[in-house]
């Protein structure tokens, strides 16, 4: 195949009219030629850190959409499925990803379970990490969230790091806000990237200490505006990532959007493309072409270097997407799950107490952190219940891996005036999490999720809606377009029930994420993230 255009040589900072000849998936020559084609050709985009599971799509369906935005590869941490299914889940992602052209590059999740204060579906210990690191399909040790473990020389953590080093595989970081001597020690342990920086100063310090900083802009956390001004100076040491990308967002764009925004800010296009296309390939040693002779023929075609609307995407010399249409085909796969709890009774959600004051989680719109507040309780027949007048709603986390008593808490700011919402996407252990106006509504929503063996749902007096997520209870077996539409409908229903949050299901999914303070709920009880220990509902 021969393809002509303006060839963007990112590394030598030049653009020339030329043609590329490919054969057997590789570029065999790049020549300067005269022609009238005005399109631009450059290496494809790489998302340098993404949990594919957050798109609620399996890798093969994720690929279908991502290639239309010019994404040719991802660096992916299968942390979510690993919390449900362990190494088996990681293998599922690898096998499913291999069936489509997009180049998924998976790492070994380093922190499963995320804490010992919750019930996850699996454990990945240092021995498992050793096996994974020896697997050629695993390219790196994924985000080391347990930074206290690194700082305090935890044996298990250090063993995991050692296994990555023994196999010459990079180690990804996760250390939001870590500065000074602690940051130095964390980096000296061999951790080479961080995608959690949220301030300019923090990212600059980490860059100066030799770390690579990945600018994250996803559906949940957004750090582009805070960090982008570092790019002109540190472009050799930065990358772009989404971390979490919801299905409706993925339909609108991917790394191409970040390039458009960076170029609109006046940043040199060669630097932007180096960050978006070149740096991840070099850092993680990906088998992805960079538009050089003998490279894999992975590249994209656009008609200008401002908008980055992708005309064509090529992977291994094959046209995979053209003008927004994807040629990636759906594939068959086995449905894997780990859902072992029976239906609950309304009385399971009762909380017998005569406490006058209770500790309540205050959710903050658009934030992962919560506040800890104390309010007067509302008691009916000795049972603590939701107080709609003050927007204090009952919330539960139900262990989905075995039959256990649901954990109960109360939460402010969800705003529901009717019914309940529930989800089996509950970071990081993915137990069932629900908020509702009454025990009966909560029970109905939880049981709907259990009946479907995973999903996100809303129920009212008149109707119930669910997007079922049969794969590990966190991913769908349907295409993005359907999921995007259903997700939007469910979001609307939650708002009709009274929720005033911008993204109620996203907020819900983070209310069990114990590592982010202040007050969260695990399936084992109310957890104070500041003192890092369980606390009581009664004050």
């Amino acid at each position: 195949m021969i393809i002509q255009g303006n060839i963007v040589d990112i590394q030598n900072r030049k653009i020339f009219k030329g043609e590329i000849t490919t054969e057997n998936g590789k570029i065999i020559s790049i020549k300067k030629t005269e022609h009238s084609v005005e399109n631009y050709i450059f290496p494809g985009f790489v998302d340098a850190h993404i949990h594919i599971e957050s798109s609620m799509l399996v890798p093969s369906e994720f690929a279908k959409i991502a290639v239309t935005h010019g994404t040719v590869a991802t660096v992916s941490d299968p942390h979510e499925i690993a919390n449900v299914l362990g190494v088996k889940g990681v293998e599922f992602m690898i096998e499913n990803g291999k069936k489509v052209p997009l180049k998924f590059n998976f790492g070994a999740p380093s922190c499963v379970p995320a804490t010992s204060f919750e019930s996850a579906g699996a454990i990945i210990n240092a021995d498992d990490i050793k096996t994974l690191m020896e697997n050629p399909d695993i390219l790196y040790l994924a985000e080391m969230m347990n930074y206290p473990g690194v700082l305090f020389d935890d044996d298990e953590v250090l063993a995991k790091i050692k296994h990555a080093k023994n196999n010459n595989k990079p180690i990804d970081g996760h250390a939001p806000g870590l500065r000074g001597k602690d940051a130095t020690k964390y980096i000296a342990a061999g951790i080479s990237t961080d995608h959690e920086c949220f301030s300019f100063e923090e990212a600059k310090e980490k860059l100066e200490k030799g770390m690579k900083v990945i600018i994250r802009e996803g559906s949940a956390a957004k750090n582009f505006n805070a960090l982008i001004d570092l790019l002109p100076e540190y472009f050799e040491h930065m990358m772009f990532c989404s971390d979490d990308k919801h299905p409706d967002d993925l339909l609108l764009g991917h790394i191409n959007q970040l390039c458009e925004r960076a170029v609109a800010k006046g940043i040199d296009v060669f630097k932007v493309l180096q960050v978006a296309c070149v740096n991840p390939v070099k850092h993680y040693n990906l088998q992805v072409g960079l538009l050089q002779e003998n490279d894999f023929a992975d590249f994209i075609v656009v008609d200008n270097l401002e908008n980055f609307d992708v005309l064509e995407t090529y992977i291994n010399g094959k046209l995979i997407a053209k003008n927004g249409q994807s040629f990636v085909q759906s594939v068959d796969f086995e449905i894997l799950n780990n859902f072992n709890t029976d239906k609950k009774k309304v009385t399971d959600f009762e909380y017998k107490s005569n406490a006058k004051k209770i500790r309540v989680i205050e959710a903050l719109d658009g934030e992962l952190i919560t506040n800890k507040i104390e309010v007067d309780s509302l008691i009916e027949n000795g049972n603590l219940v939701s107080n709609l007048a003050n927007d204090i709603l009952k919330m539960t986390v139900v262990n989905r891996y075995k039959n256990d008593t649901p954990a109960i808490a109360f939460i402010k700011n969800f705003g529901l005036k009717e019914g309940a919402i529930a989800s089996s996407v509950g970071h990081d252990s993915h137990n069932i999490i629900a908020v509702g106006v009454s025990d009966a509504a909560i029970c109905k929503a939880v049981n709907l999720v259990i009946k479907n063996k995973g999903g996100i749902c809303a129920i009212s007096n008149r109707q119930e809606k669910i997007v079922s997520l049969p794969i590990a209870g966190i991913m769908s077996n349907k295409p993005a377009k359907e999921i995007g539409k259903w997700y939007a409908e469910l979001d609307e229903m939650a708002k009709e029930l009274g929720s005033t949050l911008k993204a109620p299901y996203m907020s819900l999914s983070f209310m069990a994420l114990l590592v982010i303070p202040s007050l969260k709920l695990s399936d084992k009880g109310l957890f104070d993230g500041t003192s890092f220990q369980f606390t009581t509902l009664e004050v």
């Binding site: 802009e217 505006n225 609109a264 908008n307 003008n323 249409q325 658009g366």
Partner: protein
């Protein structure tokens, strides 16, 4: 369908048909939304009202440029601006006729008891709010002036 999704669909069509006027126009809208949505502080999707205002602004910019070019006898430059304004204008609700605007403004005047130009500001304020997206500010102000004179 949300404006952004509608844009993506139309953009794909324009890419396929190589319609450069449509492509440029649609990209201008897509880009404006992306940048507005992600500027400091803005965390979530724009509201329908914000989107509408943005689209109106883009149409107005093009119409204003076309008018300037026409004044200078540069119809060759004015034409593409108008063509783009037309493509972008399709995302606005159907524009009201002058008659319909007059009717709406007259109703506001009687409702407020406005009787002279002194009330121009008040009537304008209410009319622009009520007719947002369906009529441009300039036409509304001409009608208000006429009816209050």
């Amino acid at each position: 369908m949300s404006l952004q999704k509608e844009l993506m669909v139309k953009l794909k069509e324009a890419m396929k048909s190589k319609d450069t006027v449509a492509l440029e126009s649609l990209r201008a809208v897509k880009s404006a939304i992306l940048l507005a949505q992600t500027e400091s502080g803005a965390k979530e999707a724009l509201t329908q009202d914000q989107e509408l205002k943005l689209v109106q602004k883009l149409v107005k910019q093009r119409k204003d440029s076309a008018a300037l070019f026409s004044e200078q006898g540069r119809e060759d430059l004015a034409a593409p601006e108008l063509a783009q304004a037309e493509v972008i204008g399709q995302f606005l609700p159907e524009q009201m006729s002058e008659e319909a605007i007059k009717e709406a403004v007259a109703a506001i005047i009687s409702q407020t008891g406005a009787s002279s130009m002194k009330y121009m500001g008040k009537v304008m304020g209410m009319a622009s709010k009520q007719l947002a997206g369906k009529a441009d500010g300039k036409t509304i102000s001409v009608v208000v002036k006429q009816l209050l004179a």
